[in-house]
């Protein structure tokens, strides 16, 4: 079993710079077999954490993207009607001989109903992400992304899956997880998630990282950017986050910007460079002006 520090180191080598809170949460989730609910502003690496974990721990990633109107047919399981029909067609001759032995219609029905479970067996079950991760031979990582986009009904559906790691299928009974997957739920907070779901999870809030960690993130992803430039970029963006922008630049914007600057081979931030690349940081017309103003004020 990995220790807390081990989790952190694993993530670090995988290119994800985690802080103590994240490492502790992952460590606890691994040991207590509880899902983690991650909230935070967009682009701070909620989904990134799941991806990094799946490669670092070598758990296959099973991803379920939530959207309005998602239901159990899309998330848990579905019956493969087409295959069922095809099989009945193909087995018709055999059915005929099988049933021809019976004396009357009543007996035929009885014989047939005795075999009914054939058609509602695992053969005809389509595994959707959650069931797939439950039935995976290897421990997997189940990522339920942007849970706040789904409806209340779907949230209620998840309760059973997340607390007991089992799926009830009326025709088959209860299917339990072979290996309980490491489950990560992410939410952007566009909708309040019910307390019932929160109670079943560990709650992790990922905010914007501290200066040092963000610099480290930039340096890991783009080693060609020198320490000074990374620090300058990050502190500039941190100021921009305080500007009350419509869409404050997040870590993903920092990384995009770092990539742009490394392509441009910039060594230092100047108001001109910011003005030329402002589209990477600010995503609204009103924000563009504010950011360029800030650059003129801070960097000249």
């Amino acid at each position: 079993m990995i220790s807390e520090q081990g989790v952190k180191d694993l993530l670090n080598t995988g290119g994800y710079i985690a802080d103590d809170a994240i490492a502790t949460a992952v460590f606890l989730a691994l040991h207590m077999e509880k899902p983690i609910l991650i909230e935070g502003p967009p682009g701070v690496g909620k989904t990134g954490l799941a991806k990094a974990l799946s490669t670092a721990l070598d758990f296959p990633l099973v991803r379920l993207q939530c959207y309005e109107g998602i239901d159990e047919g899309k998330a848990l399981y579905d019956w493969e009607y087409g295959k069922q029909l095809l099989y009945t067609q193909l087995l018709r001759t055999q059915l005929d001989t099988y049933l021809s032995v019976s004396a009357d219609l009543r007996e035929a029905v009885e014989r047939l109903s005795a075999e009914e479970s054939l058609f509602f067996s695992k053969n005809f079950l389509v595994q959707r992400p959650i069931l797939r991760s439950f039935l995976s031979e290897k421990r997997s990582l189940l990522l339920i992304d942007e849970i706040d986009r789904s409806d209340d009904e779907f949230e209620a559906l998840l309760l059973e899956c997340l607390s007991d790691f089992q799926v009830s299928i009326p025709e088959l009974g209860v299917i339990e997880a072979k290996r309980k997957p490491l489950t990560i739920l992410t939410s952007n907070g566009t909708r309040m998630i019910s307390d019932a779901l929160r109670r079943r999870c560990l709650y992790l809030y990922i905010g914007y990282p501290e200066l040092e960690r963000e610099v480290a993130i930039v340096r890991v992803k783009f080693p060609e950017i020198c320490e000074d430039l990374a620090r300058q970029m990050v502190s500039f963006l941190r100021k921009a986050r305080d500007l009350n922008l419509r869409k404050p630049p997040s870590v993903s914007e920092t990384l995009d910007w770092a990539q742009v600057l490394s392509i441009l081979k910039a060594t230092q931030l100047t108001p001109e460079i910011v003005a030329n690349t402002v589209g990477v940081i600010a995503k609204h017309q009103t924000d563009l002006q504010k950011v360029t103003d800030l650059a003129a004020q801070e960097l000249s």
């Binding site: 207590m32 087409g82 992790l204 009103t286």
Partner: protein, 471 residues
């Protein structure tokens, strides 16, 4: 140790954080897995397991700091749980002492400095750097902890600072508080508003979703049905229906921003700001003597900036006397032509016309365009007939006149309105069902009194229920 956690959970509950027994079990289990190393990690573990909402994190930190105060140092070799139990029991006296001094945590060094204005800026900066010790840094020997507090986290040695002619600190301290004259919202107010609106949305959503689901159904979609039932050998087990195109309900709001009703109108604006884009297509206007559209600004500006702009009189002149007659005339001229889709109309104002021409015939024209007309006034009914108030004249054109005084009133009224709008466009079967439900509701005459005067609990009914809102 279980006892300590249980006590801590009880404290959290007292501070308003809801923690279930299952969660406190999780906390104990988690501490068992990780072990207790230092304060910071223990706090993280407790926070991960006990707190399930961002907004609760500050409260949690506060309770944590109070409960696990910094005068306990434990040698990692000794038996931890027993020792901690003992320590907590010993601390009991101290907690009582803290309880007796509620203002205890307010003595920061800021206000003291302000009183003593003779202090020289260097010393002042030095004093200011004596930050409170972060409780998470209290692991270790007492003396190092104290040093950290004295020198700050950077562990810099105290050194003479340069003498500033304009020390930013003194400037900061001398800044008077009286500059904040305009009406803006404190974060608490905004949060309270968000809360009211989100609760309202919760209540509404359930009904609307059900209605919507039924509403969207139209005629049979032949092609989709065939496609869908391909797997069933074209036997139409599952039916696909055409969806009806639906638009958001439209709402037009005319909001008086003159001083007499400013407290009500600012909440109206905040409500609109929060509601905007959620489920409505709102066009908002503000008026005093002139009228101006602020839909765009409401959508694109932070609400406090907008309030300031309005208060400065940049959008419309606030020094003039308000005139409803003038405003209606101007509104008819400039906007009435291009109002489409039979919007619901809300007018917020006290109908005090300053003895100007009433021009109430305009309301008649607006009525023709509007699906529904609602007048919100912050004044009680018995003052309507006094002075220059034209409420009775204007009210006769409206479907409803409501008295609103608090945010809750406002949200209730708007909720009712939205329900009505949705019911109006609902499928006939749904509408029938809704109307039946409404009729079946037991009519409680108390509703009349509580609504509109909900500010003070148990206040006396001051107006006649029968004539209050329907003409």
């Amino acid at each position: 140790m279980e006892r300590i956690i249980a006590g801590f959970v009880a404290d959290l509950r007292k501070s308003g954080i809801r923690v279930s027994p299952g969660e406190s079990l999780d906390a104990v289990q988690a501490l068992g897995f990780c072990g207790i190393h230092d304060r910071k990690s223990s706090r993280q573990i407790l926070r991960l397991t006990l707190v399930k909402n961002v907004n609760d994190i500050p409260t949690f930190n506060e309770v944590f700091n109070r409960y696990f105060s910094r005068f306990q140092f434990v040698d990692p070799d000794t038996n931890l749980p027993d020792l901690m139990d003992a320590a907590i029991t010993n601390m009991e006296g101290e907690f009582n002492y803290l309880d007796q001094l509620p203002g205890d945590d307010h003595d920061e060094n800021g206000p003291l400095l302000k009183l003593d204005s003779d202090i020289n800026p260097e010393d002042l900066a030095e004093l200011k750097s004596l930050t409170e010790i972060d409780p998470d840094d209290t692991d270790g020997i007492e003396i190092t902890v104290q040093m950290k507090g004295y020198r700050g986290k950077a562990k810099k040695a105290p050194r003479p600072t340069r003498r500033y002619t304009q020390n930013p600190l003194t400037i900061e301290l001398n800044k008077s508080n009286s500059t904040q004259m305009g009406i803006t919202f404190t974060p608490e107010e905004q949060i309270a508003m968000q809360d009211v609106v989100s609760r309202m949305m919760m209540r509404l959503r359930k009904d609307m979703k059900r209605m919507k689901n039924n509403q969207n159904r139209g005629k049979l979609h032949v092609i989709k049905t065939i496609q869908k039932n391909y797997r069933h050998d074209m036997v139409p087990f599952q039916v696909a229906l055409r969806r009806k195109r639906r638009e958001k309900p439209r709402l037009v709001v005319l909001c008086d921003v003159s001083f007499s009703v400013s407290h009500a109108s600012r909440f109206m604006l905040l409500l609109l700001h929060t509601l905007h884009n959620q489920m409505l297509d709102v066009r908002s206007f503000i008026f005093n003597r002139e009228v101006a559209e602020i839909t765009e600004m409401l959508a694109n500006m932070p609400v406090n900036d907008l309030m300031e702009t309005i208060d400065m009189g940049d959008i419309i002149d606030l020094d003039e006397n308000s005139s409803f007659g003038q405003v209606f005339l101007a509104f008819k001229k400039r906007y009435l032509e291009n109002l489409r889709g039979r919007p619901a109309f809300i007018i917020l104002g006290d109908a005090r016309n300053n003895y100007d021409e009433a021009n109430d015939w305009v309301l008649d024209e607006i009525r023709e365009k509007a699906r529904y007309m609602l007048w919100l006034t912050p004044e009680e009914r018995d003052t309507w007939s006094r002075g220059d108030c034209l409420m009775d004249i204007y009210g006769s054109y409206c479907d409803k006149v409501e008295v609103v005084k608090t945010v809750e009133d406002l949200s209730l009224v708007v909720e009712d309105l939205l329900r009505d709008i949705y019911a109006d466009r609902a499928h006939p079967i749904d509408r029938k069902r809704l109307l039946e439900a409404k009729a079946a509701e037991i009519y409680d005459s108390k509703d009349y009194y509580t609504r509109g005067t909900s500010g003070g609990a148990g206040s006396e009914p001051v107006f006649d229920p029968a004539g209050r809102s329907h003409w």
